[in-house]
Symmetry: C2
Subunit: 667 residues, 2 copies
């Protein structure tokens, strides 16, 4: 891949200056943005693209393209400048001129889906590094399945000091080093500057030693010596370990009076300094003007990629794996999955197993994983608790990537980001488990997945005080509300094995929405006693038990509390009170339904919500003023689950009492 | 401090076995818990306590005590066993027998405030390490203020593999290494086992090299060789760098058939294995029975501590710094603060500055920091954006800890945990800043602070789409709702400089509740135009503008949207519509008020909530069915703030239109 022999180094210097010019001009036009990183890393990025990267702007989805991640997302103008010059058809000069303006593709930070050639959304620091690790892992896993002919690319990421200070970077580099992800090359913009000033204000870690300790191949170069950068990338490509290249750079390189200072990090340079930079760099061209010969040099990169893609296409067309490869990249087979889930839930409705929903999840996964050969399970070191590993799922190891199960280690945050990376790479469908309380650890990556619309499945077990003795540090109380708050995220809390299977079906066939499955530690009885062709969980909430005659009260519950609602309805029935029971496994799907449909499900009678969590999120959607809620108002406690349910008053008896009070009060 | 010369090594061996016996017996009685870590680390902990630690169970709040943190919180029985034998009066055998039962002090994971001698709540892995870093920093900062006579103690923490895999550990060790916190000694339970099996399933990091890269003093010992452990602790005490002691241990040491395996990590050993362990360890005593001579040995540790405390007390009594020292440990001077805030807000009501609330926060801090000499500011590398540094605040550096400002680096998560540690240590009042969107990064530590009731102040600026061009990765949309969901956390979103100052007053005088201040990037007009003796923010929500005559509509807003509500009321007034405006800076405080008081504020007229965030949390407390809300329903976008407010329809015009619709609809 190395094109060093025929490099025109003078042209390459101008290619880099073109990035610098576009970055400072666009930031100036926006009166907002970050010129420092694009100007500092222009040489490194130019060498990377000019001599190594294999992409084709004419087909931004080409599966075997190299992946490029700008983890230092505030340096977005580096990406936009390059993508403009490479000739992406959605990145015209108008986009650069409208940097950071409403409706432009050139958002403040690079956003996946907003423009071609942006492999992942970055900005929150460290996320790009971990996501790139997921991409590099997916590449090797796909390679193990399809061989070098079809899968043989690299993942390059640029990160800054901030990315390396964030905790997620530790989780990611530790994981990548362990998995020996040699196809990953991390280019560190080692400029010694953060927003507050010099990095020595807050860190004195020897980053090179740190990466070496994690099993990485480490090099250091002058980031403005393009031949040295090229030699380092070439050496990195040859090494079987993931590579760090520490690129010593001057932030804002080219702005003669401000470079090397935190002043160039995140503010426009100003007209005077831009003029000085033009002189200093020998760049006499007008703002946003790129001379044809320099544009041609960039377009040559694209031409090289187009050639590679064409050759790859031929290999795919003649490959015996052709249809299997296309199938793995296509959307999951929803029809086959529906059939399998239908048969499975019909059987469940007969067998009515009393199992924890985490166990029910494993049972559903046995069905799912048989139908979808490209699911990839995993856990943050809670495999036996999360029940994420089905029969025959071999572990993905540094020496054999053909397996389907990933030991993410005690790294909830990186797990979520790595799963985003796997899903973004394409070809594999990742799901991974931890305790629901630790969704707080993975939350920044869950959010980014929701923003990007990446359909990852987060398996979160031990979903309430029902986990018992581990106590309030491990007991989710507010986590479901906090997850329901994230836009474009489906939060499921299924009540039994049937709903759990249905939730899996919805999660795995979602086109652009990640899901969280909140699952119980404790056993729960079957509540859906009839098989059916319809996935009722897709309704968000539905009437599980209707009354004969007008309802006196409606009990609405989720997950483990549906059992309590049913028991309360029994108690009330014995008292001659007609209580309907609504199961509400997914608030987001319910919210999407027409108000009249929702009203029909919830009824006009007094309502009681039951969920062993806080009330936030119930009012408005489920409850009206005067309706009641049984749940938690503060943190849990350490004790066996039945004692906790009694202690916090989350019982059928209390629900029945409250129902009688509401009914009396309404009379 | 080292007592090596007169150690009875045979007695010490039995002291360690006593921990093992109590741990396995208590877990067995609870039928739940983690015997592996207490049994594996019993030798290390015994040496630490027997020969080094200086605490006095008769005065668990003695300021100059050593701090001990069990970061591997699942090993809680190690703490409870030790504290029982040391003679803490709240840790009788009944507590051990009721391990993990309702109402017992012996929660599943150690909980601050549940029992004496527990310095911080642990369980979520890595938190203890970072919190210990905060304690160690606070010790040096207090030492810089009061000298060796009054402040001269150490912080010891035990951590497991899980703690070191979590990202927060990176942030914490990097920070501790940079700050050269030589009083911190971290004892790593290097047993090579995690829940899923051997650590080599998921990590191959050279931890010793990793810590060395971060500037730590590193040693490795056989964790069952007590003399080696003692020598290592002694060497660690001599070194100026923070110390890691890698203690090679056998998990579940003493259980002959199960030790060294992940089976002993988190499940009772069972009667047979416990019997075998008793034989293997030469421990013939009945369950929960500790021979008097062994108990005496443990009590000698306490006696040594009592002696040290007594000597320290004499030094304090005769110290010229006596009253200053006591004052810094006491609760903040609420009377002085009230007077200063009253004067300041009275001035503001006259001057009516149009400033961003992040700037208003800095202005308030100038007042606050003058009144409270022991506040300690900081930021996760966003000092100029968070406005957390007031005049004359010198940085805390590795060579001078007398300053009041901490450069936390780009480490939001560790910052929150370190602040918890500083607050738990006592003597200093920490606050620290980042962007509100990154509260997701620090969330696990914010939650732990709320669970513990540690009054830390989290300054979170750039609190909505109002931050503009940085786009949706940086724009909080759901974060305020997600923070409001955390129990025992006050979330403030002040509307102007007066409310910002009032929020600071409440946050700093809270006895056992942490706070989050959500502050705008953009300038906001003064909305409180009259000075007053009362802190109205303490009401949670209050009528900012009342109507003459009955209200036609009530507009309820927070923070930057109060300006919009006022403008809408003006528009409506011009149309002859009477609109009241309610400012609601703190939902949690409002929720505490009587329903009738809340009703009086919110009125019976139709209501419109205005907050440039999602609606979750508004219904029930603020809004009724039929009321309206103007805010966000999904992620933001990248553009200048005014364009975004127009784009998302968060405008006075829309509020006025909606008001008219509601009023028409109600007629």
């Amino acid at each position: 891949m190395n094109q060093m022999a025929r490099i025109d180094t003078e042209a390459e210097a101008q290619m880099a200056n073109a990035i610098r010019a576009l970055a400072m001009d666009a930031v100036e036009a926006a009166k907002s943005g970050h010129p420092g990183a694009p100007m500092g890393m222009a040489d490194v990025a130019t060498v990377l693209f000019n001599r190594f990267i294999r992409i084709d702007p004419a087909d931004d989805g080409w599966p075997d393209r190299d992946r490029f991640v700008m983890s230092a997302g505030h340096g977005s103008m580096l990406v936009y400048a390059i993508n403009h010059m490479l000739g992406y058809d959605d990145m015209g000069l108008d986009q650069l001129r409208n940097f950071r303006q409403l409706g432009a593709r050139t958002a403040g930070h690079p956003e996946y889906g907003h423009a071609k050639g942006i492999e992942t959304t970055t900005g929150p620091l460290g996320q790009g590094v971990a996501t790139a690790v997921g991409m590099a892992l997916a590449e090797r896993m796909m390679n193990a399945r399809f061989g070098d002919d079809l899968v043989d690319h690299r993942t390059y990421a640029i990160c800054g000091d901030g990315c390396l200070m964030e905790g997620i970077s530790h989780e990611a580099i530790d994981f990548a080093g362990h998995q020996r992800l040699g196809r990953l090359i991390l280019l560190w913009d080692d400029n010694g500057i953060t927003i507050d000033g010099h990095t020595d204000l807050s860190t004195s870690t020897d980053q090179r030693a740190r990466f070496a300790a994690a099993g990485w191949h480490v090099q250091a170069v002058d980031g403005h010596d393009r031949e040295a950068v090229a030699a380092a990338i070439q050496a990195a490509q040859q090494d079987e370990r993931p590579s760090l290249i520490a690129c010593k750079t001057v932030i804002g390189f080219g702005a003669p009076n401000k470079q090397g200072s935190h002043e160039v990090h995140g503010a426009p340079l100003g007209a005077d300094e831009i003029a000085a930079a033009r002189t200093h760099l020998g760049w006499p061209h007008a703002p946003f003007e790129i001379p044809t010969n320099i544009l041609d040099s960039w377009r040559a990169v694209s031409a090289r990629g187009a050639e590679a893609r064409s050759a790859w296409r031929k290999r795919l067309d003649s490959s015996p794996d052709n249809s299997r490869f296309n199938a793995t990249l296509a959307a999951p087979d929803a029809v086959a999955l529906r059939a399998a889930i239908r048969d499975y839930t019909a059987k469940l409705a007969t067998e009515r197993p009393k199992v924890a929903t985490r166990k029910a999840s494993e049972m559903a996964l046995e069905v799912v994983n048989a139908v979808l050969p490209n699911t990839v399970g995993g856990s943050a070191d809670l495999t036996g608790s999360n029940n994420t590993r089905t029969k025959g799922m071999a572990a993905v190891t540094p020496t054999d990537r053909s397996g389907r199960y990933i030991h993410y280690g005690i790294r909830e945050h990186a797990m979520a980001a790595i799963m985003n990376g796997i899903a973004l790479h394409g070809g594999l469908i990742p799901y991974g488990g931890t305790f629901l309380a630790f969704s707080d650890y993975s939350r920044p990556a869950i959010r980014l997945g929701a923003l990007m619309g990446v359909p990852v499945v987060h398996v979160m077990t031990h979903d309430s005080i029902g986990l018992g003795e581990d106590g309030p540090t491990h007991q989710p109380v507010e986590h479901v509300a906090a997850l329901r708050a994230i836009p474009n995220l489906m939060v499921f809390r299924p009540a039994d094995a049937v709903e759990t299977a249905e939730a899996w079906e919805i999660a795995l066939t979602a086109a652009a929405t990640p899901s969280v499955l909140c699952l119980s530690r404790q056993n729960l009885p079957a509540v859906r006693l009839e098989g059916g062709d319809e996935n009722l969980t897709r309704l968000g909430a539905y009437v599980l038990r209707e009354t004969k005659g007008a309802r006196d009260v409606t009990l609405i519950a989720t997950g483990s509390e549906v059992e309590i609602a049913l028991a309360a309805a029994d108690l009330l029935a014995a008292q001659g009170v007609r209580a309907a029971v609504v199961s509400a496994p997914c608030f987001e799907l319910f919210a999407e339904r027409a108000p009249s449909e929702r009203e029909q499900v919830l009824g006009r009678a007094p309502r009681i919500g039951i969920e062993a969590l806080i009330r936030q999120g119930w009012d408005g959607l489920m409850l009206r003023p005067g309706d009641a809620f049984i749940g938690m108002t503060g943190f849990g406690a350490s004790a066996p689950a039945p004692a906790l349910y009694r202690h916090f008053g989350i019982t059928a008896e209390r629900a029945a009492d409250l129902a009688n009070q509401l009914i009396q009060g309404g009379k």
